[in-house]
Amino acid sequence: MIHVSNLTKHYGDFQALKNVSFDVAKGEILGFLGPNGAGKTTTMRILTGYMPPTSGTVTVAGYDVTTDSLEVRKRLGYLPETVPLYPEMTVWGYLDFMARLRGVDKRERRIDEAMEKVRIADHADVMIGKLSKGYRQRLGLAQALLHDPEVLILDEPTIGLDPRQIIEVRELIRGLAQDHTVILSTHILPEVSQTCTRVLIINEGQIVAEGTPERLMARLKGAERIFVQLAGADGNEARRLFQSMDGILAVDDKGNGAYEVECALGTDKRPEIARAVVNRGWGLLELRPVGMSLEEIFLKLTTE
């Protein structure tokens, strides 16, 4: 659906994007992850035809964004980082304006549907200037959905929402994925693992990792880690015990009888550890594998 190849963007001497390439298939929800200033917004602005790239090509639904910009724009719904609203208009008036600009058929029905989807229908006659941040964000989303576009590009769609609204919006986005293709950017990590089918981590204008949230975590783990919580054990003795076992690479004493044991990738030492602990007569309070969180992966990738 979206094909990006060798995308480069310069702002004067500053290189915002360096040779970025990726593809997005129909029905996918692609999460763009990266620290502020990594190039997320720049990429999205190029995809929407707001800015042309310095070099490289982007096609959306088979149309090139620089040569067939209007065709691309017809098929796009876009929620920019700063929600573009006219404070002196009412919610309904604004959506009506956008629907007209986008040439939407059966305007009134489409507006009602969009308002229903983001749950803003009860505010239809309120002036936008009087809306709270959460409602503004939702109105921005309604505007992007109005014409039922094939591709949705959402720049930080859940920013400024309260936790319940965040869950609602995530559900909404997941629901859209069936017949829409979605690209969303965020720096909130749980959002990516909960909403997206695929993640693209971008740092300093380059893609540093790509894959499903699960696969990314697996790939970057490097080793299996096991958390052990003991009761009634002598600290040094327990450590020596773990270190003496086969296939254990490192032991990290977390204090208060807690340890993190690292063993080779693909092995599970839990049965051996349990047996050894019980043989010593210590209490085994907890024994579980430790997954590397997306936070850790993200930090690892973007601080190197």
């Binding site: 035809g49 876009y78 007209r100």
Partner: protein, 236 residues
Amino acid sequence: MKNTLTIARREIQAYFVSPIAYVVAAAFLAVMGYFFAMILYYSREATMRYTLGNMTTVLLFVAPILTMRLLAEEQRMGTIELLLTAPVKDWEVVLGKFLGSLTLYACMLGVSLYFPFVLTIVGNPDLGPMVSGYVGMLLLGGALLSLGVLTSSLTQNQIVSAVLGVVLIVLLWLVSALGDVTGAPLSGVFQYLALSGHFYDFFKGVIDTRDVIYYLSVIAAALFLATRVLETRRWR
């Protein structure tokens, strides 16, 4: 064209919910009423000629105030991103904005028809010069508004936009003075380029196609440049 009208429609609605339109229109009509009354009192002549002639100077400041918001505010609020990613061409945006301001200005002129109407009651005025005078006001106003749209595209700040607009208009108004410095043959060119040299005939009752073409050319050139400015914004 449909997109242009959609944008113009929104712009007109925005004018009527903001105080600026009412304040500017009221001031315009009040000043016009003052000119009209004074001129009528002293000249005892049933004509709009002198009133309209004086109003051109007022228009010089009114036009940039009407247009200062149009593109500057879109850029400040980020809503320009919405317009430039909607399936709308850049020139449709610019033309829509211009038509919005022109409609408001035409409404102001429409209300001011009250003055010639008074003349037909108290006197026996010649209708021809009044009609051509209003055509001239509309054309001159259109040219000034288009220049205002151009300066509004250059900045995010409404005040900067208005000041630049006044400066640009005053310069183009007085560019004929350069002709006195250079002498012939350039003086003729500067004479023709000046905004101030093309409305007196209208007020006297003459619609000269050269003047009409001049004002339409100014409008086309200013809107074209504004579109280009908007386009280069994408490249930055």
